[in-house]
């Protein structure tokens, strides 16, 4: 219990003192997390919509891979990205390994299946009769998609929150592809792992409180958007 209180007090002290390193780490964490969720939403949402609304050969197999991807171990994603970005790998010429971009790529890989899978489930639940009614009202395909997006906003925001949750919790891949380099690729989760390995449990706890507070702020904002106009 004392350790928890100490950790909380340390977190407050770190924030109050404006510790440069903490600010750098927290800022980078927010930057990579928001960038990855942005790109995985940008690609995952339309992919999930198409998978949920259309029927084509190979759809089930594709869905099986996406569902498998929802449980993809981050270290596996990290390993793939590492091999891809390794000097002799296909993208080696871009020297992206151990950069924030590599972390974004890994987080994108682990969150994309979640967003695609959950968006697909949401869209599959739309009844054929509703689609017929929207078409009969004179909607074009684009108008139909916008109406459906509005109708399914709770499910879509849930998918984004779940994807973000995966990103925030992710550490294995970030460690592998980012390298936890001070001032460059160190993010809150990798810092926590490092502090625990050094035996600095109070600092690790303090960092975990900062991470959870940031996560609360971001997730809270998305939840607010999701639940807007609903009572309680």
């Amino acid at each position: 219990m004392n350790l928890l209180v100490d950790g909380l007090l340390k977190a407050l002290a770190m924030l109050r003192s404006g510790d440069n390193e903490i600010i750098t780490i927290a800022t980078l964490t927010a930057k990579v997390s928001l960038t990855s969720i942005f790109f995985s939403t940008l690609l995952g949402l339309p992919l999930g919509m198409v998978l949920g609304l259309s029927k084509f050969k190979g759809r089930r197999l594709l869905l099986t891979f996406i569902n498998l991807g929802m449980g993809l171990p981050p270290v596996v994603a990290g390993l793939w990205i590492t091999l891809l970005l390794w000097r002799s790998g296909p993208l080696g010429q871009f020297s992206l390994l151990y950069t924030p971009t590599a972390i974004i790529m890994a987080q994108f890989i682990v969150s994309l299946p979640i967003i695609v899978g959950l968006t697909c489930s949401t869209f599959q639940q739309i009844s054929d009769k509703l689609l017929l009614q929207i078409k009969a009202l004179g909607a074009t395909r684009t108008q139909t998609l916008f109406i459906l997006l509005k109708e399914t906003k709770i499910g879509i925001f849930a998918a984004i929150i779940a994807g973000l949750g995966r990103i925030i919790a992710e550490v294995g891949a970030a460690m592998m592809v980012g390298g936890n380099i001070q001032g460059d690729t160190r993010i809150l989760t990798t810092s926590i792992v490092m502090e625990v390995s050094k035996g600095n449990f109070d600092i690790a706890l303090a960092l975990s409180f900062i991470l959870m507070s940031a996560a609360f702020l971001i997730t809270g904002s998305i939840t607010f958007l999701q639940q807007r106009k609903r009572n309680a």
């Binding site: 009844s127 017929l132 009202l137 004179g138 074009t140 509005k150």
Partner: protein
């Protein structure tokens, strides 16, 4: 009278099964056509076909003399039809927004939308619900919104697929009374699908009886009901036991 829709040897076939077989059917302006038949007779499929929401397999389906199908119809022509289904299928938003939706999709100016929506809310006696979330309405209220939404776009033909069947009896009677008055006043050509003889008798002027994907008898509602032919007699007589 001006023929709006005309079907000639229209068939709908899925794999090897013929779902619909309509040798001849015409819908003329101002007509209130009832399509009656038991469950699975093909009434709703016919309605979707007439509203160009489902493609026919063969034959000629024409609107105002022009041969069309669900795959070739232009958006502009499709927007001349409107449909209200058994379930109200309202969207998350206010009653006003729901009724305005079809007009908004047609990019009607905001001022005109307000005028039209206000008119139809008043006509269907739901003005007091304007700002209420449509998903919180009772069954009867929701169906009034559904009908108002369908009428607000000023369709050439209104298609109704059992819009009263899920309502309790007093609510149904009240809404049917109001709707009959509204339909007569607006003179909107209407195709009304139902399996309920009382609804058909009360609302429609002409009637087509469908059995097994075919229209077995059609004509003035009173004539069809008074003088059923050999094909329709047993179906209609079952109903007449209760009315």
């Amino acid at each position: 009278m001006n023929t709006l829709l005309k079907l000639n040897e229209v068939k709908l076939q899925i794999e090897k099964k013929i779902i619909l077989n309509i040798p001849d059917l015409q819908i003329v302006q101002g007509e209130f056509l009832g399509v009656m038949g038991p469950n699975g007779a093909g009434k709703s499929t016919l309605l979707k076909l007439l509203a160009f929401l489902e493609c026919h397999s063969s034959g000629v389906l024409s609107y105002l003399g022009k041969e069309l199908s669900a795959s070739t119809i232009s958006l502009e022509t499709r927007r001349k039809f409107s449909i209200a289904l058994q379930q109200s299928l309202l969207l998350d938003g206010t009653v006003f927004q729901n009724i305005a939706l079809g007009l908004k999709l047609r990019k009607v100016p905001k001022k005109e939308i307000k005028k039209k929506v206000d008119y139809w809310m008043e006509t269907f006696k739901i003005s007091h619900l304007a700002q209420k979330n449509a998903l919180t309405l009772s069954g009867g209220e929701a169906q009034r919104v559904n009908l108002a939404r369908a009428m607000a776009v000023g369709p050439d033909i209104l298609f109704l697929d059992e819009p009263f069947s899920a309502l309790d009896f007093p609510t149904k009677i009240k809404l049917m009374e109001d709707f009959k008055h509204i339909a007569a006043k607006s003179n909107t050509t209407t195709v009304f699908v139902s399996h309920d003889l009382a609804e058909i008798r009360y609302l429609t002027t002409t009637l087509a009886i469908m059995l097994d994907g075919q229209i077995k008898q059609s004509g003035l509602t009173s004539d069809v009901l008074e003088h059923p032919n050999l094909d329709t007699a047993s179906f209609l007589n079952e109903w007449k036991k209760f009315y």
